[in-house]
């Protein structure tokens, strides 16, 4: 499989949330370049070319990261991303249901670029996600 054109890595264990996220991104005209992983370990495998993704060297332009994940949780994933030279500069947006102050503070401490609480109502959710895609993929510039 070729991941070279993957622009967004979506880390989300809930398939319905993942579907709604993808729908929202599609609505924002961001379509073919989304890859979804369903737990923290898979996310790290993808980013560091391990396991299933042994041959994948491509890095996404933005990572949408849920916090409550099976195996390795979101904050741990974020920490490893920020620890490695390879992934340090990739923008990470936490996209979670948690509105806990503790999570927000911890995420920023670990160097998150943005922290978005998933709105429960559909319109809000759609709007938020599509704006994230727009902002991080089209407007934001990162070092090459």
């Amino acid at each position: 499989m070729n991941y070279s054109d993957i622009e967004i890595l979506l880390v989300e264990d809930n398939p319905h949330d993942a579907e709604l996220t993808r729908r929202a991104l599609k609505k924002g005209k961001i379509t073919n370049n989304i890859h979804t992983v369903t737990d923290g370990e898979e996310a790290l495998d993808y980013l560091f070319s391990r396991g299933e993704y042994l041959n994948n060297d491509a890095k996404p332009k933005v990572i949408l990261l849920d916090l409550k994940l099976p195996k390795v949780n979101g904050l741990q994933v974020l920490k490893e991303i920020r620890c490695s030279e390879l992934t340090r500069n990739i923008p990470v947006v936490v996209l979670t249901s948690s509105n806990e102050e503790k999570d927000i503070v911890e995420s920023y401490k670990l160097g998150v670029n943005s922290y978005i609480v998933k709105p429960v109502e559909f319109e809000g959710f759609m709007k938020a996600v599509s704006e994230i895609g727009l902002y991080w993929l089209l407007l934001n510039k990162i070092p090459v």
Partner: protein, 836 residues
């Protein structure tokens, strides 16, 4: 120094005598030189005065004068030379008369006067020579004190013979002035001898006559006033009688009779006067005798020992008190030395005391010891005063001694009592300074050892049933020794007796109260006497305090009294210590429980957090899916759905949204409950306006009147939380008054000391006060969802926040009139309440 009035009179007398004698000598010489017989004989027919007699008078006069001038250098020596010359002349003349050999001393004494043969005068008469010998001896020895009364005889002879001669002249009895060749005295010579010998007599001031002359009282009057007066009177009477008879007024015999009658009258008058004076003196003497007797009886009756002694320490008086105190009877001690009473080693003290007395000082309340006749030592307090003679010289000492043995004993008792108090005081301090029984007892024993000697002491505690005891602690010679805390039966021990009667147990000699279980063991250790004191708490014996000694009869009553007081202290200490131990144990238990409970709470809290986290995350996702996919259905297939299908989908969407709000409110409530209050000074007005700003949708409405008072006081609290309170209360107020045409909301506060009561009032629908207890419950609602939307979490949150601030919240409402919510905050707060 001879400076009193008597000595002055005496010296005047001596001086006049010397002057008259010298003057007479010169007059006689002048008479002889110019042949004026009137100056040498006085009356023709009388014997003329010898010239050497005149010279001797002059020499004697000078010698007498110089005798009084001892302050002039060599005056005494010259006086002695003059008297020696007179002595020699007298002796030579006397020798001439006895042997018949004529040395013609008259001639070589005064050659100028006797160059004429015809003018050969009389030689000195034998009696004159003898008088001169005697007077010169008296003058030579110059009133020296030795053999005073012998000198009185020496001087008496010239005095008497001159008096006899004068009497002879006065009464015209020639044999009185001229008897044989040896006894011849001219009236001149006799008068001058009388004057001279009187003067000389006064040199000897310690002779009886002079003493009488100088003494006070009646004898002085007699000697000084009456004696001269009578002599003069007799002479005058005689002269008058002689003159009267020679003038022919009466015959000499009649004159003599007259004189005798006059003399009898004068003497009778004198006797009567004397008798009167004596009677008067007798009365005075009587009263002073009574006074003396009174004083003597006081001296006798007092229990104090009153004695007097000479400066050499010879006892001169001894009262009954002395007999009682010292044991010596008066007869056996008077005349003996005071040193009999002074114990060896106190001699120096006595000497120092007497030295002071000699210098005229008094000794007051000097405490010392004296030795009794039987050798016992007695404690005395002595006052010693000097005894002075009439001249003011210290001649002896009087002392008053009092037996102070009793006083000393009571003083010692007082001292002991004081000491006891001090010990008790120190022990009280020890007891209050420590609660560790070991510390208390060690200090206690150290303190005790200073006061009461002991060889072995121990603290013995009883078990609860009081049938067993253990030796809790033991000290030997003040150092604690380890004991095996072995349980022993009270039965057949001395403790059993104490448990029965509750009294201290004293064995002055071990075994005297019978053999006990422990007696053998004690005997083996060499214990000879012991005391056991019960330690009581409210009449219940909890243990014993024992003292033991290797000496028999060690404990005095004083010690026992002290130990009784001490055992009371010990009881208190034991009780204190027990209570302390109990409290300590309870405290430890409590702490243990607190730790356990805290841990449980922490665990519960963690679980709660985990639960809240799950709720926030996991409950939301399905809701989002429900809501999301319902909307996807509408979006993607909306045109294929009929009206009913769309309505049902919308119901699904609405409920999922409501569910979402419930979850959010619940999360907020849980978060607030867990959050710590971070205190700061709050500007309440500012908070109210920010809260209103959050509710902005309402504030634009013209039909809403929000009255925020100007003078709302500031308080201390957590800014975010207090703001949340206002948001909730204001939104409630707005919500429940929204049915009113004109909504009225009032926000204010009033101060009550450190507490401030804040309120939010509205004119809304209100509620029935009978449901008041449901008002602040979570998810409790007093209105239907159709009337007013809401989750029922807001007021629960308000209550939670105010409770966390240590304040109160309450409400007052009238159905359809309005509601008022009140809550309190403190003006100043120093600490926050932890999570409850």
């Amino acid at each position: 120094m001879k400076n009193n009035i008597h000595n002055k009179e005496a010296s005047i007398l001596i001086l006049s005598s010397a002057a008259l004698t010298t003057l007479s000598g010169f007059i006689i010489l002048i008479g002889l030189f110019f042949h004026l017989t009137i100056l040498t004989r006085g009356n023709s027919g009388f014997i003329s005065v010898a010239p050497n007699t005149a010279i001797c008078f002059i020499l004697c006069g000078f010698s007498l004068y110089l005798n009084t001038k001892t302050e002039i250098l060599k005056a005494l020596t010259i006086s002695k030379i003059f008297s020696a010359i007179v002595f020699s002349v007298g002796l030579l003349t006397f020798f001439e008369l006895i042997t018949g050999i004529n040395f013609n001393i008259d001639r070589w004494l005064l050659p100028v006067l006797f160059n004429n043969e015809q003018n050969n005068p009389n030689n000195m008469a034998g009696v004159t020579a003898l008088n001169f010998i005697l007077i010169s001896i008296a003058l030579y020895f110059n009133g020296s004190k030795k053999s005073n009364n012998l000198f009185l005889i020496i001087i008496a002879l010239p005095l008497i013979d001159s008096l006899i001669a004068i009497a002879g002249y006065l009464y015209d009895v020639s044999s009185l002035y001229s008897f044989g060749s040896f006894y011849k005295l001219s009236y001149y010579t006799a008068g001058v001898f009388l004057i001279l010998s009187t003067g000389v007599l006064f040199l000897y001031e310690d002779t009886i006559i002079i003493k009488l002359f100088k003494s006070d009282g009646i004898s002085r009057i007699l000697i000084r006033k009456f004696a001269p007066f009578f002599i003069l009177l007799i002479i005058i009477m005689r002269v008058l009688t002689m003159l009267g008879s020679s003038e022919g007024f009466y015959t000499p015999v009649f004159g003599d009779a007259l004189e005798i009658i006059a003399n009898i009258l004068i003497l009778t008058g004198f006797i009567f006067w004397n008798a009167y004076t004596l009677q008067k003196l007798d009365t005075e003497l009587g009263s002073s005798l009574k006074q003396n007797q009174l004083l003597a009886s006081i001296v006798e009756s007092t229990t104090d020992a009153i004695t007097s002694k000479t400066l050499d320490g010879i006892i001169t008086s001894w009262n009954e008190g002395s007999e009682k105190l010292y044991g010596y009877r008066r007869e056996e001690i008077i005349g003996k030395s005071i040193s009999l009473l002074i114990p060896t080693g106190k001699m120096k003290d006595y000497e120092l005391m007497m030295e002071k007395v000699r210098n005229g000082m008094c000794i007051n309340y000097h405490e010392t010891i004296r030795k009794k006749k039987n050798g016992d030592i007695v404690n005395v307090s002595i006052n010693v005063s000097p005894i002075k003679d009439s001249q003011g010289r210290v001649s002896g000492a009087s002392s008053i001694a009092r037996d102070i043995t009793e006083q000393k004993i009571s003083r010692q008792k007082l001292k002991n009592y004081n000491e006891q108090l001090q010990i008790l005081n120190r022990l009280a301090k020890i007891i209050s300074s420590s609660l560790e029984i070991e510390n208390i007892f060690d200090s206690f024993i150290e303190e005790l050892g200073r006061r009461i000697p002991f060889d072995r002491t121990s603290l013995i505690l009883l078990n609860n049933n009081r049938n067993e005891y253990i030796v809790d602690r033991m000290w030997s010679s003040y150092t604690p020794i380890l004991t095996a805390k072995q349980r022993r039966s009270v039965k057949n021990s001395a403790f059993e007796i104490i448990l029965k009667n509750g009294l201290p147990f004293i064995e002055r000699n071990l075994g005297e109260k019978g053999e006990f279980n422990e007696t053998g063991e004690l005997r083996k250790e060499g214990i000879k006497s012991r005391i056991i004191f019960p330690l009581k708490i409210q009449d219940e014996i909890i243990g014993f305090f024992t003292q033991a000694s290797i000496q028999p009869n060690t404990y005095k009553q004083d010690d026992i009294d002290l130990l009784v007081s001490l055992s009371d202290f010990l009881s208190i200490a034991v009780q204190n210590s027990n209570l302390y131990e109990k409290i300590k144990k309870m405290n430890e238990e409590l702490e243990q429980r607190v730790i356990a409970r805290t841990w449980e709470l922490e665990e519960a809290n963690k679980e709660l957090e985990a639960f809240a986290y799950s709720v926030s995350h996991d409950l939301k996702a399905p809701l989002r899916a429900i809501d999301g996919f319902a909307k996807v259905l509408i979006e993607d297939y909306g045109d294929q759905l009929d009206i009913e299908a769309s309505r049902v989908l919308n119901i699904i969407i609405q409920n999922s949204q409501k569910m979402s709000k419930l979850i959010n409110d619940l999360l907020a409530f849980s978060r607030t409950s867990r959050r710590e209050v971070s205190l700061s000074k709050l500007n309440i007005n500012e908070i109210i306006y920010s809260a209103l700003a959050q509710l902005c949708s309402y504030t634009d409405d013209e039909d809403i009147e929000i009255d925020i008072k100007d003078d709302i006081p500031d308080a201390t609290g957590d800014k975010n939380m207090v703001q949340l309170v206002y948001v909730n209360l204001l939104s409630n107020a707005l919500k429940f008054s929204s049915t009113r045409e004109k909504q009225k909301i009032e926000v204010g506060a009033c101060e009550k000391g450190n507490e401030i009561v804040y309120y939010v009032k509205d004119n809304g629908v209100g509620f029935n006060m009978k449901y008041y207890d449901k008002l602040f419950g979570v998810f409790q609602r007093l209105h239907s969802e159709d009337e007013f939307e809401g989750t029922g979490v807001g007021l629960a949150l308000v209550q939670k926040i105010i409770q966390k601030h240590g304040g109160k919240v309450w409400a007052e409402s009238k159905l359809n009139k309005g509601t008022a919510f009140y809550f309190t905050l403190e003006k100043e707060r120093e600490y926050s309440y932890e999570l409850q």
